[in-house]
């Protein structure tokens, strides 16, 4: 059985996708997930707001695979610390299985194959899933943004570093800023050779101005249109080259589809006797079936596009 903890937009979408694939799924609120007998659970998908590390530890100790959609930096660091627990249990903990992080890692893996070697990854994200995700987006513009720059973590104020990024239609161009995003941490975890990693999120002047205040308007219950843009730089045939890919869909659909595909793949591989190696893994990690996951996400209706440009 697969348990989906979280009954928001992302959790609901993921549970629906898993049911369509024929899995036995139980959707519960994160407040009632402790009432479930973990011995009946093969995979637990944590798709609720708030911290995931405590629940992830509990289910790993009960020999369950865990998929987390958390994109909150402190929570992701706590989840990375569960690597030892996952190894001891012989189970896989997939972190940041949403849009950014999540699909971003899969696109880095996909684009890297088009280059001889890669050294830079630059990610931009637009939009929010459900209300919890919108609150998270509000907070990320007021903290410290992490980026990897030539063998060191670069800390810059969130909301700085404006860059005009082009997303697939219908989103188009948006001003994007550094933010307290977990993507650089997980991209570095999955691709340790990279020399530069940055992540930005789109924001308006009002977003930046009110980032340090409580949210002035309540988040939209039905979520937002989202988009992701991943730019990979490296070399091909001895020359510098850039590859770009992205997507534009309702954010909850992207995040839910990625989370469902990861849970589906973990269960499928375990059933075929080819389990994913245990430990804490980020999408894009070469021990994960990244191609199969990306194909599965596309089959679930997420349209992935690549940018063809003239330099």
């Amino acid at each position: 059985m697969i348990v989906v903890a979280g009954t928001g937009l992302v959790g609901t979408h993921a549970a629906e996708q898993l049911r369509r694939r024929g899995h036995e799924v139980r959707s519960v609120s994160h407040k009632t997930v402790n009432e479930i007998d973990p011995t009946l659970v093969e995979v637990v998908l944590l798709a609720h707001g708030g911290d995931h590390a405590r629940l992830a530890r509990r289910f790993l100790e009960a020999d369950c695979h865990v998929v987390s959609v958390s994109d909150e930096t402190k929570d992701v660091l706590a989840l990375l610390d569960l690597n030892g627990d996952a190894l001891a249990a012989g189970r896989t903990l997939v972190l940041g299985a949403a849009c950014s992080p999540g699909l971003s890692g899969l696109l880095v893996s996909y684009l890297s194959k088009k280059l001889d070697d890669t050294d830079e990854v630059h990610i931009a994200v637009h939009g929010t899933g459900g209300p919890e995700c919108a609150r998270q987006h509000h907070d990320v513009l007021s903290g410290t943004a992490l980026g990897w720059h030539e063998d060191d973590w670069l800390r810059r104020p969130a909301g700085s570093g404006r860059e005009l990024c082009w997303f697939p239609d219908p989103i188009g161009s948006r001003d994007c800023y550094r933010a307290d995003l977990a993507d650089p941490l997980l991209i570095k975890h999955a691709f340790p050779h990279l020399a530069r990693i940055s992540a930005r999120t789109s924001a308006t002047r009002r977003d930046r101005l009110t980032a340090r205040l409580p949210m002035l308007t309540p988040p939209r219950v039905q979520g937002d249109m989202g988009a992701l843009r991943v730019e990979v730089r490296g070399s091909r045939n001895g020359e510098r080259a850039v590859e770009v890919a992205g997507t534009a869909h309702p954010m909850a659909q992207i995040a839910g589809s990625v989370a469902a595909s990861v849970a589906h793949e973990l269960r499928r591989q375990a059933h075929f006797g080819t389990p994913v190696p245990p430990g804490a893994r980020a999408l894009g990690d070469n021990t994960l079936p990244n191609d199969a996951l990306l194909d599965d996400i596309m089959q679930a209706g997420v349209r992935i596009q690549s940018f063809y440009g003239v330099q």
Binding site: E231, V242, G246, A292, L294, D295, M298, I304, S306
Partner: protein, 43 residues
């Protein structure tokens, strides 16, 4: 007069440093125009 000379010196030093950094930077020019096309498979 001395103040103007100092200001001009500071500006030219700053300009020289900026030019050096810009020329030595290894960033590539990202695509400036183009469009998006669908990817049908990861292969």
């Amino acid at each position: 007069m001395k103040l103007i000379r100092r200001a001009l010196l500071a500006l030219s030093v700053a300009g020289a440093i900026a030019a050096t950094l810009r020329l030595k930077g290894k960033s590539v020019v990202p695509p400036q125009q183009g469009g998006w096309r669908d990817i049908s498979s990861s292969k």
